[in-house]
C-alpha cells in the first residue's frame, strides 16, 4: 500500500491550496475581474516575437507589478507565451534567512529541455483586423493560425482556420505571486513605549492584507513530515487556466498510474478529487488509478476531438499540479444533447519559475507530438540489443550466478540480450566498485556475455556513499561537486549506502567529473558491452521530505532545488550518456551508442535512453495499468518505455507471469525484473507449459525486431509513438478516444490487446475502421468497424494484422539479437479491402553511429493490386561515407519468404511469380520463383507464399504476381 501520509495533497502544498482557492474565488464570483492587463502601448512585434508588459494590480494598494511578456512564433507553427517578473528578474528583492539562493525566477529549464524547433517564424505578422482591445498575430503553416491577445484582462486565444482551439486565462485564473517582503504580524499584546508606534504601522498593513482574504499561512515557511522549507523568496507560484473548447479528451501529463484519457480532478463520481501532480518522487508501492505523482514529469498535454488535436507544453521544472474539469455545452438548448460538445478546462499551478507555455495547434496527433518533440528532441535511436529482451533481478548475487543464468537461457533456447545488475554488485553500495567476494571476476563475466553478443547493464545511482577510503566521495567533496543544503554547505542525506552526498549534474564541472568516472580504467571491470542504469534520480532521499531533497537545497549557480526538481533526474542521465560516449578512445572508430535506463525523467529525457515505470507489483491490476501508462509515455514524446515484467514486488502466479511476458513482448522497453525478496522467476524456471509459452512470446518479439527497430527509427526522426493508442491512429473515430488497453505497433497495423485479467480466455478487440483484420497466428479474418471477440487461451496473444500493411520479420530463432544480423527476412503482405499494402524497413548495424554517415538500409515495400506487383524502393537519403560499406556487408542478406495474407483467389493454381532485381542501376531479367497458394478455410483467410525470392534486402526489386 502506498503511504499517502508521506506525500502531499494539494491542500498540504501551500501554493496549490492557494491557487485552487484563488480559482474557486474567481469562478464563484460573478464580477470577477482578473487583475492582469497588457499595456497596449508596451506591445511590440518584431521578427516573429511580440513583447510587452503585463501589469498585475494589487487590489488593496492599487500598486502595479510589472510582468514582462514575450510571445514567440516559431517556424513549426508553435507559439510560446512567456511571462517573467521584472523585480525578480532585476534581482531587486531581498532574501530571507541570509539565503544565497538565486533571486530570479528559474529561466534555464529550456537549457535542459529544448534542443530545437525554435527558429522564429518569418511569416508571422500582426493583423490589422484585430478587434478593439486585442492584438492579433497571424502565423503557422499557410498562415492558418491566429493568436488573439486580449489586453484587459490579459488573455490569449489560439485559432486554427478561424476556430478557437486553445484559450489562455479565459477564466481569469492567471496568477503570478509577485515578490513581497515578509511583514511580521504584531505581537498579540502591545508593549508600552517606543515600539508601539512601529508595530501599529505594521498592523495596518497586515490588516489590509487580510482584506483581500489571501491565505498567507504558507507564504514563508512550510512544514511537512517534520521538515521545514525555509522558502527564502516567499510565495512565487505561477498559475494559468488553459481551456480546450470542444475537446472532450486530454492526454499526457505523464507520469501517472491511471487511464490514458485524463480524468477530471475536482471530485464527483469516478473522478479524482486531487489534481494531477508532477513532482518526481520515489513512491513506494504506488497505487492504481491515481493522479498522485510518480517518478517522472512531462508537462505536455494534448487535447483530442474528432479530427483535431491540439496541445500545450508547460515548461516549468518546479512542483506542478494540474486540475482538469469538463463542461458540456449545448449548441441548442432544445436539442437535448444533440450537437452538444464537451469542453476541457485545465488549471496549471507551479510553485516557482517562469510562466512559459507552448501552444501546438495540430491538427493531427502526429503534428502535435512532432512539434513537441522537435522542441524537446526525438528519442535516441537505440542499439538493437536495447529493444530486445532484458533479464534483470535485484540481484544476481555473484558473477558465477550471472554466468549460470546466461548458460541456462541458452540451454533452454530462450533468447535474451542483456543481463542486469542491481545495487548488490557494489562493494558496500559504493558505485564504481565491485564486491570482491561476490564479483571477483567481472571482466570474465562480461567476456562470457560478449561471446554471444550479450550485454551487461550495471546500476549507478546519484548518491555517493559518505565513507572514508572511497576515492569517489573524496573527490566529490574536495572538488565541491555535490548538491548543497540551504546554508550552502554540502548536503548530507540517507540512501542505499547510508549517509550519502548527491552529485550535482547541473554543474558543468560536476558533469565533466562524472564523465571521467566511467572510463574503462576508472570503472574497472567494465568493458564495451557494459551499459548503465540510473535509478533513484528523482532524487530519492530516504530521510528527506516526500522521500526527496529539501526544496531549499542549492544547486549549481545557487538555483534552489525547488526551481529544478523535476529536471534533476534528467541531468544525471545526461551526464551518464555523455560519459558512455566519452569512455571509448577517440581513435576507436567503432563508437557504440550509449544505453541508459532512467527512472526519473522530464521533457527531453527521451533523447538519452529508456525509462521504466518503477516499482510496480506482481498483481493483475499492475499488468493492466502498464498498458495505458506506456501509451501515455508514447504520446508524450518518450516512447522507449517499459514496465517491470512479472511485477517488481511480490511473487506472480505462473499465469500472471506468462500473461505478463505476452504483454511485455509489446513493451518498447522489455525487461523482466524482481525484488530481492521474491522467488527467482527466470522464464526457464516457470515449468511447462509456462516456459514454452513465455519462450514463444520472447521469440515473437525477436522475430518482429525488424519492425520494432523500424518503429524506433521512425520515433527517432519524428517523435512518433512506438506503440500507438487508438486515437493516434484513428483521430476521426470518437468512439476510440478513451481506449487504452489495445494498441498498434509502429506503422504496421499490428493491433495487440494482451490479456491482463486472470482466467480470461477471450478478448474483445475494438476495430475502428472498415477494414479487414487477420489474426496474426492463424489468419482468421475479422471485419471492422466494431468489436470482435478473439479467443485467447493462455498460449495465445490477441494480436491482429490490419489489412494494407507489409511487415518485415526475421523468423530464425537465435540466442541474441546480435546473432540475427545476417539472417534473411520474411515479408508478410497483408491485403485488406483496397487490395494494396505497404510497409517500410529501416536497418543498420544496430550499434554504431555509422547510420549518421549513411550506413543504413531504408526501404519501402509496396504491393499494388492494380499491377499485382510487390516492389522494394529506396527511402534512404543521399548516400554517405558509410553507405557502400554497409550495403556490401549486407549484400548476402535476402528476403527468404514472402507471405501474402488475404491472397486473391485469382492466384489459385498459379504456381509461379516473376522476380526481377535492380543491379547497378539496371533491372535484371525476370526469374521464375514458385508460389504456393492456399484457399481460405472456415473463417481463415486465403494465403500464399513466394518461395525464396532471394532478392537482396538492401536493393530494389520487383515481384510480379500477374
Amino acid at each position: 500500500m502506498v503511504k499517502h501520509e508521506n506525500f502531499k495533497t494539494c491542500a498540504q502544498s501551500g501554493f496549490c491550496k492557494r491557487n485552487r482557492a484563488y480559482g474557486d474565488t474567481a469562478l464563484s464570483s460573478s464580477n470577477w475581474a482578473a487583475p492582469y492587463s497588457l499595456d497596449p502601448a508596451s506591445v511590440k512585434f518584431e521578427k516573429g516575437i511580440l513583447t510587452g508588459t503585463v501589469s498585475k494590480t494589487i487590489a488593496n494598494t492599487g500598486e502595479a507589478v510589472r510582468l514582462p511578456l514575450t510571445v514567440a512564433f516559431y517556424e513549426s507553427g508553435t507559439a510560446r507565451v512567456t511571462i517573467d517578473e521584472e523585480r525578480r528578474q532585476k534581482g531587486e528583492i531581498e532574501l530571507r534567512h541570509n539565503s544565497k539562493a538565486k533571486k530570479q525566477r528559474y529561466n534555464e529549464a529550456e537549457k535542459w529541455a529544448i534542443v530545437g524547433g525554435t527558429t522564429v517564424s518569418t511569416g508571422a505578422a500582426t493583423s490589422k483586423a484585430a478587434e478593439k482591445g486585442t492584438t492579433k498575430i497571424v502565423y503557422g503553416p499557410a498562415s492558418k493560425f491566429e493568436a488573439v491577445i486580449r489586453h484587459t484582462p490579459f488573455g490569449v486565444e489560439f485559432k486554427r482556420d478561424g476556430e478557437t482551439q486553445v484559450k489562455l486565462n479565459d477564466r481569469g485564473l492567471l496568477n503570478m505571486e509577485h515578490w513581497r517582503p515578509k511583514v511580521d504580524k504584531p505581537a498579540p499584546e502591545k508593549k508600552e513605549g517606543e515600539e508601539e508606534k512601529k508595530e501599529g504601522e505594521e498592523a495596518v498593513v497586515v490588516e489590509s492584507d487580510k482584506e483581500i482574504a489571501e491565505d498567507d499561512g504558507t507564504w514563508w515557511d512550510e512544514s511537512f513530515g517534520g521538515n521545514t522549507d525555509s522558502k527564502p523568496r516567499g510565495p512565487e507560484a505561477v498559475a494559468l487556466d488553459i481551456e480546450f473548447p470542444g475537446y472532450e479528451h486530454v492526454y499526457g501529463a505523464a507520469e501517472h498510474a491511471g487511464p490514458l484519457s485524463l480524468k477530471e480532478t475536482r471530485g464527483g463520481d469516478g473522478k479524482y478529487s486531487e489534481p494531477y501532480r508532477l513532482y518526481n518522487s520515489d513512491v513506494f508501492e504506488y497505487e492504481m488509478d491515481s493522479p498522485m505523482t510518480l517518478y517522472g514529469a512531462i508537462p505536455f498535454m494534448q487535447a483530442q476531438k474528432k479530427d483535431s488535436t491540439v496541445g500545450v507544453f508547460w515548461l516549468n521544472a518546479a512542483e506542478t499540479w494540474i486540475d482538469i474539469t469538463k463542461t458540456t455545452t449545448s449548441a441548442n438548448p432544445l436539442s437535448f444533447g444533440i450537437g452538444s460538445s464537451v469542453t476541457t478546462q485545465t488549471h496549471w499551478i507551479s510553485e516557482a519559475g517562469l510562466l512559459d507555455v507552448f501552444v501546438f495547434l495540430g491538427p493531427k496527433p502526429q503534428d502535435v507530438i512532432g512539434a513537441y518533440t522537435e522542441l524537446t528532441g526525438y528519442t535516441q535511436l537505440p542499439q538493437q540489443f536495447a529493444i530486445a529482451y532484458h533479464q534483470c533481478r535485484w540481484n544476481y548475487v555473484t558473477d558465477e550466478d550471472v554466468r549460470d543464468v546466461d548458460r541456462k537461457f541458452d540451454k533452454h533456447r530462450i533468447p535474451y540480450d542483456v543481463i542486469w545488475l542491481d545495487i548488490e554488485y557494489t562493494e558496500g553500495k559504493k558505485y564504481f566498485t565491485w564486491d570482491p567476494m561476490t564479483f571477483p571476476d567481472p571482466l570474465g563475466m562480461n567476456k562470457q556475455l560478449d561471446e554471444h553478443e550479450r550485454k551487461l547493464v550495471a546500476i549507478i545511482d546519484p548518491h555517493i556513499k559518505n565513507k572514508g577510503n572511497y576515492p569517489i566521495v573524496e573527490e566529490l567533496k574536495s572538488k565541491d561537486l555535490a548538491v548543497h543544503n540551504k546554508d550552502d554547505n554540502i548536503y548530507e542525506g540517507w540512501c542505499w549506502p547510508g549517509s550519502s552526498y548527491w552529485i550535482d549534474c547541473f554543474s558543468p564541472k560536476g558533469r565533466e567529473w562524472w564523465k571521467g568516472l566511467f572510463r574503462y580504467d576508472k570503472f574497472r571491470g567494465t568493458m564495451k558491452n557494459v551499459f548503465i542504469w540510473n535509478d533513484m534520480n528523482e532524487p530519492s532521499v530516504f530521510n528527506g521530505p516526500e522521500t526527496t531533497m529539501p526544496k531549499d537545497n542549492l544547486h549549481h549557480d545557487h538555483w534552489e532545488h525547488r526551481d529544478v526538481h523535476n529536471i534533476n533526474g534528467m541531468t544525471l542521465v545526461n551526464a551518464t550518456f555523455d560519459a558512455l560516449l566519452a569512455r571509448d578512445k577517440v581513435e576507436d572508430k567503432h563508437h557504440v551508442r550509449p544505453f541508459v535506463l532512467t527512472r526519473s525523467f522530464y521533457s527531453g529525457s527521451q533523447r538519452l535512453g529508456a525509462m521504466w515505470t518503477g516499482d510496480n507489483q506482481a498483481a493483475w491490476p499492475h499488468l493492466e495499468a502498464s498498458i495505458p501508462m506506456l501509451l501515455s509515455m508514447g504520446v508524450s514524446g518518450f516512447p522507449f518505455a517499459g514496465a517491470d515484467v512479472g511485477g517488481f514486488f511480490g511473487n506472480p502466479s505462473k499465469e500472471l507471469l506468462t500473461r505478463w511476458y505476452q504483454a511485455g513482448a509489446f513493451y518498447p522497453f522489455f525487461r523482466g525484473h524482481a525484488h530481492i525478496d521474491t522467488r527467482r522467476r527466470e522464464p526457464y524456471l516457470a515449468g511447462e507449459p509456462y516456459t514454452q509459452i513465455i519462450t514463444q512470446a520472447l521469440r515473437l518479439r525477436y522475430a518482429l525486431l525488424p519492425a520494432w527497430y523500424t518503429a524506433f527509427h521512425e520515433a527517432s526522426v519524428s517523435g512518433a509513438p512506438i506503440i500507438r493508442p487508438n486515437y493516434y491512429v484513428h483521430p476521426g473515430d470518437e468512439k476510440g478516444f478513451g481506449i487504452d488497453d489495445q494498441f498498434y505497433l509502429g506503422s504496421y497495423g499490428l493491433l495487440a490487446k494482451p490479456v491482463t485479467k486472470e482466467g480470461q480466455e477471450g478478448q474483445d478487440i475494438y476495430l475502428a475502421d472498415k477494414e479487414k483484420y487477420y489474426d496474426y497466428f492463424d489468419f482468421w479474418t475479422y471485419e471492422g468497424p466494431g468489436t470482435v471477440n478473439v479467443a485467447a487461451p493462455l498460449d495465445t496473444i490477441p494480436f491482429l494484422m490490419q489489412g494494407g500493411h507489409i511487415i518485415p520479420r526475421r523468423d530464425r530463432p537465435r540466442r541474441s539479437s546480435g546473432l540475427m544480423r545476417y539472417d534473411p527476412f520474411t515479408l508478410v503482405v497483408v491485403l485488406g479491402n483496397s487490395g494494396d499494402a505497404e510497409g517500410t524497413l529501416y536497418l543498420d548495424d544496430g550499434e554504431s553511429f555509422d547510420f549518421q554517415e549513411g550506413g543504413y538500409i531504408h526501404r519501402r515495400f509496396s504491393y499494388a493490386s492494380s499491377t499485382s506487383t510487390l516492389m522494394s524502393e529506396d527511402l534512404a537519403a543521399a548516400a554517405g561515407k558509410k553507405t557502400k560499406e554497409y550495403l556490401k556487408q549486407m549484400e548476402k542478406v535476402r528476403v527468404e519468404k514472402v507471405i501474402i495474407v488475404g491472397a486473391p483467389a485469382a492466384w489459385k493454381g498459379k504456381g509461379e511469380v516473376e522476380v526481377s532485381e535492380e543491379q547497378s542501376g539496371k533491372i535484371s531479367a525476370a526469374r521464375k520463383v514458385s508460389l504456393d497458394w492456399h484457399d481460405k478455410e472456415d473463417g481463415k483467410a486465403a494465403w500464399a507464399v513466394v518461395r525464396d525470392p532471394g532478392v537482396q534486402i538492401g536493393s530494389g526489386w520487383k515481384i510480379a504476381f500477374a
Binding site: K3, F284, V397, T398, E400, D401, D404, K411, R413, I414, I423, D435, M437, T438, E451, H452, E453, W494, W496, G498, F542, T547, D615, H675, D677, T678, R679, R680, Q692, T695, Q696, A697, R699, L700, A703, Y776, F777, D778, F779, D811, R812, P813, R814, R815, L819, M820, R821, Y822, D823, P824, Q889, E896, K897, I899, V901, H934, K940, V945, R947, D948
Partner: protein, 567 residues
C-alpha cells in the same frame, strides 16, 4: 550436449562404418540419418513422406519440409519448434507434423567426438567450439567469421581430462566400495549393539524389580522409626515452626515481588513487541537502510523463534493462591506453635494443605530449608534416623530411580537403533558411512559447510555474524536433474540423482525457514561443486561424492539404477 554425445557413442560403430567409403552425406546429416539422403533426384521429408522435393531443395537455406529434414545443414528450419510462435505459412503443409526430424546439425569433429549442434546456432557468426570443435557449423562465414578446426587440440585436451576423469571415476568406484564396506560394518555394529541391548534390558528389568522390592521393604521399616523419633523432638518443633513461618513469609514476599516484576516485564515486552511489529509493518523495505533492515531481520528471527511457554492462566492462579496469606491457604501457624500435635508430621501436613501444584515446590523448598538449618547448626541433623524421609529410603529410591533410568535409556537406544536400521541410507546403505562427515567451501561472501545427514551451514566471511543453519537433515529423495558436466566431470549431468533434503534451518527474514537440497553426483573425493540460492533462503548444493558412484564410475541412478544417461 552430453546427452547427445552419449547418444552418439551408441553409434560409434556406425560412424566408423560411414567413414569407410560411403557417398558423402549432405552437410549437417549425421550417419544414422544418411539413409534418408541417398536418392539422387528426389528427397522425401523424413516424418512427412507425402512431401517430396527435388534434391536441389536440400540445404538451399529454405525450409520446405514440415519436419525440417530438407535443411540438415542450415538454420532455415530452426523455427520449427514448439518454442517458436507459429502461423500457417511456416511450412507449405500446415496440417503436417512439424516437429524437427533431426537432432541438429551434425559436426563431424574429426579428432574428437562427433556431435549435434542446435540449428539455431548454425551460421549465426559464432564459433561454438565447445560443441562443434571443427567449426563446421559456420560454413557460410556470415559477417566474415572463420571458425578454424580445433578438434585436434580440443580432442587432445579432452582425452587427457577424460582419462584423468575415468581414472578418477575408477578410484571413485573403489572408494565407494570402501564406503559400502564401512557402511556394512557400521550396520553390523548397530545390529550387534541391538543384540547386546536386548540382553542388557533383560538384566535391567530384573534389577528394577529387585530395587522396587527393596524400597518397599525399607519404607516399611522406616515408618515406625519416624514416629518414634518424632516423639523425642518435642520443643524444638516450636522453634522450627517459627522459623518456617518466617521463611515462608520471606518466600512469599519474594515470590510476590518476583511476580510483580515478571508482570511488569511482560507488559513491557508486549509493548515492545507491538512496537516492533508495527515498525516491521510500516517501515519501507525498499529503502534499504542497513540498520533498519538488520533490526527488522533480527526481529523477524526473534518473532519466528519458539517464544517459550505462553503465560499460563492456571499457573498464574496457582501463584496468586500461593502468595495469599497462609491462613487463606488453610495453614494456621499458631496451631503448630502452641499445640502439641504430631509435630514431626507437620511438614507433611502443612504441605497437604497446599494446592497440588505448590505442594511439591514447597516440599522441596522446605527440604532445602531444612538442610540450611542443619548446615547452620540450628537443627540437628537427624535425617539419618528421622525427618521427612530417612536416608535409607532416599538411597533406595535413588537406586531404583537410577536403575529405571538405565532401563529407559536402553529401551530408547533400542528404538533408535531399530529406526536406524529402518531408515533409508541410500543404495547399499552407503550414506551410513558418510554420516557426520563434513565438507566445506567458500563461495561469494560465505563459507558453506555440509555435514552429511546432519546439517548445512553458512558463515559470512565478512566478519561478524555467526553460523547460519541452512537446514537439518530430513530425508533422502530422488530428483531429476539436467545440468552441464564440465570437462573435469564435476557436474550432475542429466537424469535421476540422489538428493539429501535438509529442512527447517534458521528462519529467513521475509522468507521461509532455510532449507537445502544437496544433490549428489559421482566423484572421487567428497566436494561441494556448486552453491545456488534457488529462491530466497532455499539453497541447492551440488556435491560430488564416491557414495553415489556405480562400478563404472557413473552416478547411481534411480530405482532403475542406471547411470547411462549421464555419460
Amino acid at each position: 550436449m552430453k546427452a547427445v554425445v552419449a547418444l552418439l557413442c551408441l553409434h560409434c560403430a556406425a560412424i566408423a562404418h560411414a567413414a569407410n567409403g560411403e557417398s558423402p552425406r549432405p552437410r549437417g546429416v549425421g550417419p544414422e540419418f544418411a539413409k534418408f539422403y541417398k536418392d539422387p533426384s528426389t528427397f522425401t521429408c523424413i516424418s512427412n513422406p507425402s512431401t517430396k522435393l527435388p534434391v536441389k531443395h536440400l540445404n538451399d537455406d529454405y525450409c520446405d519440409c514440415p519436419d525440417g529434414s530438407d535443411e540438415p545443414g542450415t538454420a532455415a528450419c530452426a523455427h520449427l519448434s514448439h518454442l517458436s510462435p507459429h502461423t500457417p505459412a511456416d511450412v507449405s503443409n500446415a496440417e503436417a507434423n512439424s516437429t524437427l526430424a533431426l537432432p541438429g546439425f551434425y559436426c563431424k569433429n574429426k579428432g574428437h567426438i562427433p556431435t549435434y549442434i542446435p540449428f539455431t546456432n548454425v551460421n549465426d557468426g559464432i564459433c561454438d567450439y565447445e560443441v562443434c570443435c571443427d567449426g563446421s557449423e559456420e560454413w557460410e562465414h556470415v559477417g566474415g567469421v572463420r571458425c578454424e578446426d580445433r578438434c585436434q587440440q580440443i580432442g587432445k585436451e579432452w582425452k587427457k581430462v577424460d582419462e584423468a576423469r575415468q581414472k578418477s571415476l575408477g578410484n571413485a568406484g573403489r572408494k565407494r566400495k570402501e564406503l559400502v564396506n564401512e557402511a556394512k560394518r557400521r550396520r553390523k555394529e548397530v545390529e550387534d549393539r541391538l543384540m547386546t541391548l536386548g540382553t542388557e534390558i533383560e538384566g535391567s528389568e530384573l534389577k528394577v524389580k529387585q530395587l522396587e522390592n527393596e524400597l518397599s521393604e525399607v519404607e516399611r521399616r522406616e515408618k515406625g522409626k519416624v514416629v518414634k523419633s518424632g516423639e523425642q523432638k518435642v520443643g524444638k518443633m516450636g522453634i522450627l515452626v517459627g522459623l518456617a513461618q518466617q521463611r515462608t513469609n520471606e518466600l512469599r514476599e519474594t515470590l510476590e515481588r518476583t511476580k510483580q516484576e515478571r508482570d511488569a516485564s511482560r507488559t513491557r515486552l508486549q509493548e515492545l513487541e507491538v512496537l516492533l511489529t508495527t515498525f516491521k509493518e510500516e517501515y519501507n523495505p525498499n529503502f534499504n537502510d542497513e540498520g533498519v533492515k538488520r533490526a527488522v531481520r533480527a526481529w523477524e528471527d526473534y518473532a519466528a523463534r519458539d517464544k517459550g511457554p505462553e503465560p499460563d492462566a492456571a499457573h498464574d492462579r496457582d501463584l496468586d493462591a500461593m502468595v495469599k496469606s497462609d491462613k487463606d491457604n488453610g495453614l494456621d501457624w499458631e496451631q503448630y506453635q502452641d499445640g502439641d500435635d504430631n509435630e514431626a508430621d507437620v511438614s507433611y501436613t502443612f504441605v497437604s494443605y497446599l494446592p497440588s501444584f505448590a505442594r511439591s515446590w514447597v516440599d522441596q523448598k522446605l527440604r532445602d530449608f531444612r538442610v540450611t538449618l542443619i548446615d547452620s547448626g540450628i537443627l540437628a541433623d537427624n535425617s539419618r534416623s528421622s525427618g521427612s524421609e530417612s536416608k535409607s529410603i532416599t538411597d533406595a529410591k535413588n537406586r531404583l530411580e537410577a536403575a529405571r533410568k538405565d532401563l529407559e535409556t536402553q529401551k530408547k537406544s533400542v528404538d533408535e537403533h531399530d529406526s536406524d536400521l529402518q531408515k533409508n541410507w541410500g543404495p547399499d546403505d552407503v550414506f551410513r558411512s558418510l554420516k557426520g562427515q563434513c565438507i566445506s567451501t567458500d563461495s561469494g561472501e560465505y563459507t558453506y559447510e555440509l555435514c552429511f545427514l546432519e546439517k548445512t551451514t553458512q558463515k559470512s566471511k565478512k566478519g561478524g555474524g555467526g553460523q547460519t543453519n541452512m537446514g537439518n537433515y530430513d530425508r533422502i529423495e530422488m530428483i531429476t536433474v539436467d545440468e552441464e558436466v564440465p570437462a573435469d566431470g564435476k557436474g550432475l549431468g542429466t537424469g535421476e540423482r540422489w538428493a539429501l533434503k535438509y529442512e527447517n534451518g534458521q528462519h529467513c527474514w521475509n522468507g521461509p525457514n532455510r532449507a537445502t537440497t544437496v544433490v549428489l553426483g559421482c566423484a572421487e573425493v567428497s566436494e561441494i561443486w556448486k552453491i545456488r540460492e534457488e529462491e530466497k533462503c532455499i539453497y541447492r548444493l551440488e556435491v560430488g561424492t564416491p557414495a553415489v558412484c556405480v562400478g563404472d564410475g557413473a552416478a547411481v541412478g534411480g530405482p532403475g539404477g542406471s547411470g547411462k544417461d549421464e555419460l
